[in-house]
């Protein structure tokens, strides 16, 4: 099989690490969100516990964990409890499919009296061939969480919120799915790693038998699909139920939407799920439109040769290269996470009919137009010489 | 341009016009619809002219443009293609149809301007022209029959165009049903000919026609042609099936001009001319045709003398003139029949349009007793009508004179003719002169009897232009068939163009005893008819202009005879009493005793049996989907076990 214990163990560990990273990132993001909102609104925000209020995270976690675990009267026991658990799963799994850095290659070595390797471990949870289709498929499972929570709570606010949220999610999934058709067409693949590799170097348009290079800009998908980027990014806001699309939990009308009845640790799990969706969105945006883990203006080979000037062993070179790319990825990723928070505290909420109109009557036609336009350009750019 | 393309455009142009107007009949306004329809026909006219020019440039013996678009029916020996032929005969017809048709369309634009269904009207009119062209151009009896039925349909639709009026709708129905009787005979005739000759192609039929005259009444040629002739009496309004045509005047007047004067009603004559070799071979049929033609000519003319409705007078005149054509065909003078067909198309269309103009001016009044002295109000209409009048009463040198004279001469001199037929013809001509003068006098001359509230006025130019063109044609139309006796004394000796043109297509009567009239006899015959007609016209003028009270006295003196004639010899009543009512009674009896008591009962028993069986099976039909699904599963089990056990 060529698949041995070491590889399985490392792959498993990788998954657990990514899961833990995501879970641990949430309190930090909560803190960022609170401090950020305070900054934007000219307030102070949490500043009592620890330096800059950083230990507020721990205090919050303790509070969440020690809350009373109760079941409302009209709730459906099983669904009520299962919903927050399932909130985590699709987000985490989808995020695992996004590449975070160049693969780490480990040369053959001796251990326990036998030879192992050589190995190549991709810097992602797992490398599935049809990355984007898989991510879309898994993240579309998130609708069940909401429906289960909404219906299982036995509260009309919850049910209304759940229906609204799921209707909103599926509506924007159309625009989301359609806005990346152009990107898929340009790269000719579903594989996220291949997409990233196609964005190496400086921006180079090749069409009509000519090549136009713009060295000042990196070869990012953004410059090929600006409209696609706008549509995709806007749709991800709705997918993640974030402002300005958080109609499902509009406090004024629906108390807190589908998690009205939840508290304590279960509530936290919903939080994690929501942030996981934001992370997927940011990861995909970075992957499609901003060169993923690539360092701008440099190809992975250039980075690797630079690392080789100071690192010694091949394993170390591979590892450091990967880490540099990981950092590059996180810088871009962090910017978009901050963008999400920034938008939340800047834009007002839509009305529900406006929200649906925007999804069906504005974004979907524009995404269609983007698809047709891209197809025409691709066709003529390749046929007319 | 090649011929098949020309032919296709010629045929399809009206059809396209029909489609456009027919599909948008709620939307197209009068000018647009009329414009489309007129242009469609005009395109056809141009194609006809081009084809005609091509035909003229061909050698005399080979004048035939045949196009077969596709094979339409192929059953054993019966092979019918969608084939169309332009030869000297059909060339004249398509020129008349499209030429006169264009003028009448133009006239209609103005005439029908205020009608709600104007686009529908033009759609029907275009469809009619399309079917008429198929009838005329078709190279086999079947293709011809398609057009034959098509024009019948359009005639029905147009007669009943104002179908909200019960009487008008009934008139359309009457035309259709009367035509059906003729059509049935036409079909039977086709069967007889096909059984005998194995083809229905007109050209081949003419070739295959017996070369020796058939004596028997039951010979194939005689029987077939006789049946076809019965079909023709239906379409061309001859005794005994003429009754529909006067009623058909219920339709819009331009329709009467186009369908019931110029084109459709001449289809019967045209058919006989097409099959002239076959008809010639059946002298018995020819005799019947000639007698019926002459009888109709006289009979209809007598009725025409007593009518008060301007269109009815013209309608009976049409029947009478058609009688002349049949008389000509019956004595073997096919060329004369075609000649009169053409000139009649000109002057009768002119007179119908003129009457339309009058009716338009009189605000839909058709009774000539309420007209009179319209001359000063409508000078153009009067003048053109006057030309038509001169043409129809046969005054030289107008168109009608030449054609009518040719017919009379042939009736007298042809081996199939007889002096009695000539005498009938002359009688008809005299009466024609009388009633036409009466019409002129009552309508345009004499004292005005127009009601005070009506203010007659000249029609707009769209209506007068066709009148002027047709008036011109009524004058000169006859000059292409000047007889030898006359041309001999004219400077330059103009030839009988039409006669030469048609000659290769027509067979002369099969008789060795071919009289050749000397010039003196010919002059005499001509003189008699012209002089008698002139006298008759003068008498009529005297009666209706100078002393309007005389006709009433005469009518009183004649008493019952006049009553009988003015009631159209009670033919309609006769038909009802002798044919229609007994038929209805018989049908009722059959329905009661055979259908209800016998056939229905058998089906009841059968139905009960089936229902009994069904109620057994019905228990399976529980409405429970799951059980149905189980049946499907059981079926699957059966199929699978069959496959596996095998």
């Amino acid at each position: 099989m060529g698949q041995d214990i070491f590889e399985i163990v490392v792959n498993g560990l990788k998954l657990i690490v990514i899961f833990l990273l995501m879970v641990q990132a949430v309190p930090i993001l909560v803190w960022v969100e609170r401090r950020g909102s305070a900054f934007i609104q000219n307030r102070l925000g949490p500043n009592r516990v620890g330096p800059l209020g950083l230990l507020q995270l721990l205090a919050d976690a303790v509070k969440f964990l020690t809350k009373e675990d109760m079941l409302p009267n009209q709730a459906v026991r099983f669904l009520f409890y299962a919903a927050p658990v399932t909130a985590l799963i699709p987000g985490v799994i989808a995020y695992c499919a996004i590449p975070l850095g160049t693969p780490i290659s480990i040369e053959a070595f001796e251990m326990f009296g036998r030879s192992w390797g050589p190995y190549v471990f991709p810097m992602q949870g797992f490398d599935i061939g049809v990355g984007i289709v898989f991510v879309l498929g898994v993240s579309s499972l998130a609708a069940y969480t909401i429906l289960m929570a909404g219906w299982g709570s036995g509260n009309k606010f919850s049910l209304m919120g759940a229906l609204r949220a799921s209707a909103q999610m599926i509506s924007y999934e159309l625009a989301l799915g359609l806005s990346i058709v152009g990107i898929i067409m340009l790269y000719g693949t579903f594989n996220l790693t291949e997409m990233i590799n196609a964005q190496q170097g400086a921006l180079t348009y090749s069409a009509f038998g000519h090549q136009l290079a713009i060295p000042a800009l990196p070869n990012w998908g953004l410059f090929y699909q600006p409209l696609g980027f706008i549509l995709f990014f806007a749709a991800t806001f709705a997918e993640a139920n974030r402002l300005p699309f958080d109609l499902a939990e509009g406090e004024a009308e629906l108390v807190a939407g589908f998690h009205t009845e939840y508290g304590g640790f279960k509530m936290l799990m919903f939080f994690i799920g929501e942030y996981a969706h934001m992370m997927i969105a940011c990861g995909l945006v970075v992957t499609f439109f901003f060169g993923g883990y690539l360092v701008p203006y440099m190809t992975p080979e250039q980075v690797q040769s630079w690392v080789a000037t100071w690192a010694s062993s091949p394993n170390a070179v591979s590892a450091w290269t990967s880490v540099i790319h990981l950092l590059s990825y996180f810088v871009k990723f962090a910017f978009f996470m901050w963008f999400f928070i920034w938008v939340r505290w800047t834009l007002p909420r839509f009305r529900y009919d406006q929200l649906m109109d925007l999804g069906w009557k504005t974004m979907l036609p524009w995404a269609l137009a983007n698809t047709i336009l891209t197809a025409l350009v691709v066709y003529f750019a390749h046929t007319i010489k | 341009m090649n011929h098949s393309l020309l032919m296709a455009i010629l045929l399809l142009s009206p059809f396209v016009g029909f489609l456009i107007n027919g599909l948008r009949w709620r939307k197209n306004g009068p000018n647009l619809a009329g414009g489309i329809a007129t242009v469609a026909i005009f395109i056809s006219f141009i194609c006809s002219v081009l084809l005609f020019v091509d035909l003229v440039s061909m050698p005399q013996e080979a004048r035939r443009i045949a196009v077969t678009f596709f094979e339409w029916i192929a059953v054993d020996r019966l092979k019918i293609g969608a084939g169309f032929v332009v030869d000297p005969i059909s060339a004249i017809m398509i020129l008349v149809i499209t030429g006169v048709g264009t003028l009448i369309h133009l006239f209609s634009v103005s005439y029908m301007h205020h009608d709600k269904g104007v686009a529908k009207y033009f759609a029907y009119l275009n469809l009619f022209v399309f079917n008429m062209l198929i009838l005329v151009l078709g190279d086999s009896l079947v293709t011809m029959f398609v057009g034959w039925e098509g024009v019948g349909l359009c005639s029905y639709l147009l007669i009943g165009f104002w179908f909200t009026d019960r009487e008008k709708a009934a008139a359309g129905m009457k035309a259709f049903i009367t035509n059906r009787i003729g059509d049935a005979a036409f079909l039977l005739g086709m069967f007889v000919l096909f059984m005998t000759f194995g083809t229905l192609n007109l050209h081949e039929l003419n070739e295959l026609a017996p070369t020796v005259a058939e004596g028997s009444w039951l010979g194939a040629a005689t029987l077939g042609t006789l049946l076809l002739f019965i079909g023709a009496t239906g379409k061309s309004a001859q005794i005994p099936l003429y009754v529909w045509l006067p009623d058909a005047m219920a339709g819009p007047t331009p329709v009467s001009a186009l369908i019931h004067a110029a084109t459709m009603v001449t289809a019967g004559v045209y058919m006989i001319v097409r099959l002239n070799a076959m008809f010639i071979a059946a002298p018995n049929t020819m005799m019947v045709i000639a007698v019926i033609g002459a009888a109709t000519a006289v009979f209809a003319a007598t009725i025409g003398m007593t009518q008060w409705d301007i269109k009815k007078v013209l309608a009976y005149s049409t029947v009478s003139q058609l009688g002349y054509m049949f008389l000509a065909a019956g004595v073997g003078a096919f060329g004369a029949a075609m000649f009169h067909l053409m000139t009649h198309a000109f002057f009768k269309a002119l007179m119908f349009l003129g009457s339309g103009s009058v009716i338009h001016a009189m605000h839909e009044e058709q009774d000539i007793r309420k007209m009179g002295a319209l001359k000063k109000y409508m000078p153009i209409t009067h003048f053109t009508f006057f030309l038509g009048w001169l043409a129809i009463i046969g005054m030289p040198p107008f168109a009608g004179f030449f054609s009518k004279d040719l017919i009379l001469e042939k009736a007298f001199a042809s081996p199939l003719g007889h002096p009695l037929l000539w005498a009938a013809g002359v009688l008809g001509a005299v009466m024609t002169a009388f009633y036409m003068t009466r019409l002129m006098a009552l309508t345009f001359w004499g004292k005005s009897r127009v009601p005070k509230e009506v203010h007659p006025h000249e029609s707009p130019w769209l209506m007068t232009i066709p009148l002027i063109v047709l008036g011109f044609l009524s004058v000169v139309g006859g000059w292409i068939g000047i007889p030898h006796v006359i041309s001999a004394i004219l400077p330059g000796h103009p030839a009988n163009i039409l006669g030469d043109w048609l000659a290769p297509m027509l067979k002369v009567p099969l008789s060795d005893a071919h009289h050749h009239l000397d010039a003196a006899t010919e002059w005499t015959l001509m003189g008699i008819s012209v002089v008698l007609a002139a006298i008759s016209a003068a008498v009529a003028y005297q009666f209706y202009v100078r002393s309007p009270e005389t006709p009433d006295k005469i009518a009183k003196a004649l008493g019952p005879v006049y009553q009988l004639v003015s009631k159209k010899y009670l033919i309609d009543e006769l038909y009802f009493g002798a044919v229609i009512n007994p038929l209805i009674r018989l049908s009722k009896n059959l329905w009661h005793h055979v259908d209800v008591n016998f056939i229905d009962k058998i089906t009841y028993v059968l139905g009960d049996l089936v229902r009994g069986g069904g109620s057994l099976v019905r228990t399976l039909q529980t409405g429970n989907m799951q059980l149905y699904a189980m049946y499907v599963g059981l079926g699957l089990v059966a199929i699978l076990s069959f496959v596996l056990m095998r």
């Binding site: 099989m1 399985i8 792959n11 498993g12 998954l15 009373e68 675990d69 109760m70 079941l71 409302p72 009267n73 009209q74 026991r77 099983f78 009520f80 409890y81 299962a82 658990v85 399932t86 799963i89 799994i93 797992f126 490398d127 599935i128 061939g129 289709v133 709570s153 036995g154 509260n155 009309k156 049910l159 209304m160 229906l163 209707a167 599926i170 509506s171 159309l174 799915g177 359609l178 058709v181 898929i184 067409m185 000719g188 579903f190 108390v255 009845e261 009919d353 649906m356 109109d357 069906w360 009557k361 979907l364 036609p365 269609l368 047709i372 197809a375 691709v378 066709y379 390749h382 046929t383 | -």
Partner: protein, 123 residues
Amino acid sequence: MPLGGVIFLAVFIALFGALLIVLARAAGGGLKTGTGVKFDPYECGIPGQEKRDTKISVKFYLTAILFILFDIEIIFMYPWAITFRDFIFSGQGLVVGIAMLVFLLIFIFGLFWEIKSKALEWD
């Protein structure tokens, strides 16, 4: 690679299924239940009069149905999108492009029909 994915899917299934079962059992004993006001469904202000079967607009499920249909049409574009350039290079670009154009026109017709028929109106 595939095996990595397969393993992961297996783990995923395990999480998704086994976790639910375990949690459901835990829920059987671990959750606090009661009868007081505290355990009533959350209500804002005056206690609700109506029963739980609140009337829910049929719009939601209509939206879901339309979503399914359009979603499939979009999914159909994916295989086209990744092969379109290959088709162009092999000279079949026009045929496939037109085929997709026809499909897209049907799609657009459907979308605009829905918009025009006010199936997507919310009030």
